[in-house]
Symmetry: C3
Subunit: 340 residues, 3 copies
């Protein structure tokens, strides 16, 4: 399925191995075995697929896949020729299975002759550094990391083990945990947007903090995270941040937050755990956004939000209130049309 110019496939794996990978109850029998994962619509008898979106129900009913992860509610819609692997979380099971078929590129543990590593930088065992990468004075890179081509790791930056940094990225003034991935073109640790307004010329406020990124964080392409003005900008463990996101100085994200593409979070705002900000949402500065809050796409948050609230609109309000406002305006406009 995947283009072998770009991807290396492992396997084949037996059904028992797949159960184990997908964290399902152990299976005694190990046959049959599978050579790949695939989509409902084009997976063959030696491939494993999944069903997780009601839009693809027809594809489920006509799939030719060898096996299919499926929620109990839809198990009886799996065709006779396909083995239904029933689980309450079919997408998770698929993700884990895909990971064993496509384990990703392993670090080559080579430091390219055309990279530039400062004499006093520390590079861990098994770490790869590609051509043109620059590792500045005092930086510490953990074991089994991958530093992409032409990426710049600034003075004193710390990376834990197993981090993957894409090409053409820039990281400065930052301390990073383990198993963090930065995509190509990320900018982390540069000056925040800090100055005192002055008609004779705005006066720069030195930005003296850092960025701290905990374990297991992913940060998308061309995203920018500024370091703190005083104190740190903080990204909690397991946060997923998409492309082209802006995170201002001294912002704090709790654990497991999901920040979708083109979101902006202004300075000193604090998010709890598992907050979800949908695409292009904007959050003003110095706010508190409670754990479990979900902000709809393009919303503009101008006030604190209590935990577990769903908000929408610009300015953002509880989603039910927003929907009522939309309905009111639609009704009044229609009525007026009749009056004319």
């Amino acid at each position: 399925m995947a283009d072998t110019r770009f991807f290396d496939r492992a396997g084949p794996f037996t059904l028992a191995q797949i159960y184990k990978a997908a964290r399902l109850d152990p299976l005694v029998e190990s046959a049959p075995s599978f050579v790949d994962i695939g989509r409902l619509e084009d997976a063959g008898p030696d491939q494993v697929t999944f069903f997780d979106n009601i839009k693809y129900r027809d594809a489920l009913r006509s799939t030719r896949a060898g096996a299919c992860f499926v929620h109990p509610d839809y198990a009886d819609e799996v065709p006779a020729g396909t083995l239904a692997i029933v689980t309450p979380q079919p997408y998770k099971a698929y993700a884990l299975t895909a990971q064993i078929f496509y384990p990703g590129v392993k670090p080559a543990a080579t430091i390219h002759a055309a990279s530039h590593v400062a004499d006093d930088a520390v590079i861990g065992v098994g770490t790869t550094i590609e051509a043109g990468a620059v590792i500045e004075s005092g930086a510490q890179i953990g074991a089994n990391c991958w530093i992409g081509a032409n990426t710049v790791i600034g003075r004193g930056v710390v990376l834990g083990d197993g981090c993957i940094i894409g090409a053409n990225a820039t990281v400065s003034h930052t301390v990073i945990g383990n198993h963090v991935r930065l995509y190509p073109g990320v900018r982390i640790g540069q000056d925040g947007f800090g100055f005192a307004i002055d008609p004779a010329g705005h006066i720069k406020v030195p930005q003296l903090g850092r960025v701290v990124i905990e374990d297991g964080v992913e940060i998308g392409a061309n995203t920018a995270i500024d370091r703190g003005a005083i104190g740190d900008t903080h990204i909690g463990a397991g946060c997923w941040i998409d492309n082209l996101v802006q995170i201002g100085h001294n912002v704090r994200l709790g654990r497991g937050c999901v920040i979708v593409s083109q979101v902006g979070i202004a300075g000193s705002t604090v998010l709890g755990d598992f907050v979800v900000l949908a695409g292009q949402a904007g959050i003003a500065g110095h706010l508190k956004i409670g754990s479990g809050v979900r902000v709809a796409a393009q919303s503009g948050v101008m006030r604190d939000i209590p935990p577990k609230s769903d908000v929408m609109g610009s300015p953002a309000m509880p989603i039910k209130q927003y929907m009522r406002q939309v309905a009111t305006l639609t009704r009044l406009t229609r009525k007026r049309g009749k009056d004319d």
Copy 2:
């Protein structure tokens, strides 16, 4: 007109040559000749200009240009000293004429000693590779391409002929046609935003597709296009994509789409041909946007849109309905003000 530190000018060209370049009916006489293009307000007698925006009508009436591309409706407003070259598409004629005066930098057909080209990469005839560029294993670059300084072309990437890739760009997992231009800082082919939500730590879904870009596409600075999760992200021939745009995994664009700056298109959404998305618009995932649809700036599209519709608002609706809603709210607010 153009600063010669940055631009090389060709010419002079005779009027007949300009007619030919602008794809107008052939002209027998070849005099006069012109040395440059210019703006209405400052072009001189040896320069060609154009009129295409009613805002500049005064500038048309007082222009000193030697010749002016102009729509038939305005031909009689061209001053006596200026030759009116009448065409229904004056801006197109200007574009084609400007192309002969400023043909752009030709590839030098040199591979810089400080670039890093893998032994098994294939580089076409006439292709230039600048300092610091990295071409990874198995990549195939066509003829007469230009690969900018410090750009990284990943393993197995394919480029057709005549492609121009700006500096500091990153391309991986991608197959590109002919005459494609990528501006500085583009990120193409990185992992999409794919994971299964899990309180114990979101689980990464391997992103196993590619990006396919057809002929004649332009992609603006710092734009990000993620590769497919399974299957491809696809950009149709002749699409023009501006700066800082986000295109998620498995998005498909038809031919000739125009995607203005800071637009975001979420995963698996499919656009027809000649769709126009104005600046900062956002399109949710898994939608179908018909051919010829136009989406106004900052709009948020949450549903499928039939072909040739114009929509506006967040959430987006037919533009007439949106305008009526704006009028209703204005009227009710004014009325209330009077009641107070």
Copy 3:
């Protein structure tokens, strides 16, 4: 306070030195002296802090800092153990003081052996060029500049004195004044989004202008500024531009404008002096935005705006009118709820 892996601290400084730095009336006595700046909540007796945001009033009352810049209105809330340095602009005084404690990295005046400087480029005295940086033919770099690693300065580009260009940036077709800072990943001078729409394939309009950036401008990470189509894109002295901003071809900014993250300004729009565009605002093309205008976050400006106006909404309107519309819709929705 600041992590010494990343920052070099100067000092200690006497109180008289701090008064001088903060541009306050001269002080005869020079004791006591201070070793650092710090935050209200954790500064100690040998540190200077500031109070400028009413949200932190409790922290002011309990601070242990040795001295505190404070507005006259709050001077009597400074605790007995803390010296109140009274000034109408405490944040400005703090900024100036922080600058003497943290003067920033000085250029090392070294040109890295692995940088690529064209033979005919001119490099000023005291300028540092880091590894992998590329300076193309005819470029002129002033004195005491810093060109970050893997940054590309294109043919003929001019930089004044004291400019700091971050890593992985790209600058072409641009003339830059003195003391300008470009953050990592900025893209300046690439082609604007210019083409004539054509069903047979949109036709590129050669982009023949430049970008001109006056003295003292700051431009944030991954921001894109396109060069003019004909004539220049112009950024006035002392403008502050945040991360991920888009500025189209032929835009003109006056002096001291503040452009917050993810703002987009479409082609040929002209801003006066000291315009403030808050985060994610969008400005359509060919508009005139008067001096002193403030545009609220996420607003969409579709018409000219007279000087000193405050606008909000999409489409943007005077902020009072916008607030009245929000109130009207809230009231009508609530009323309808009661009617149901």
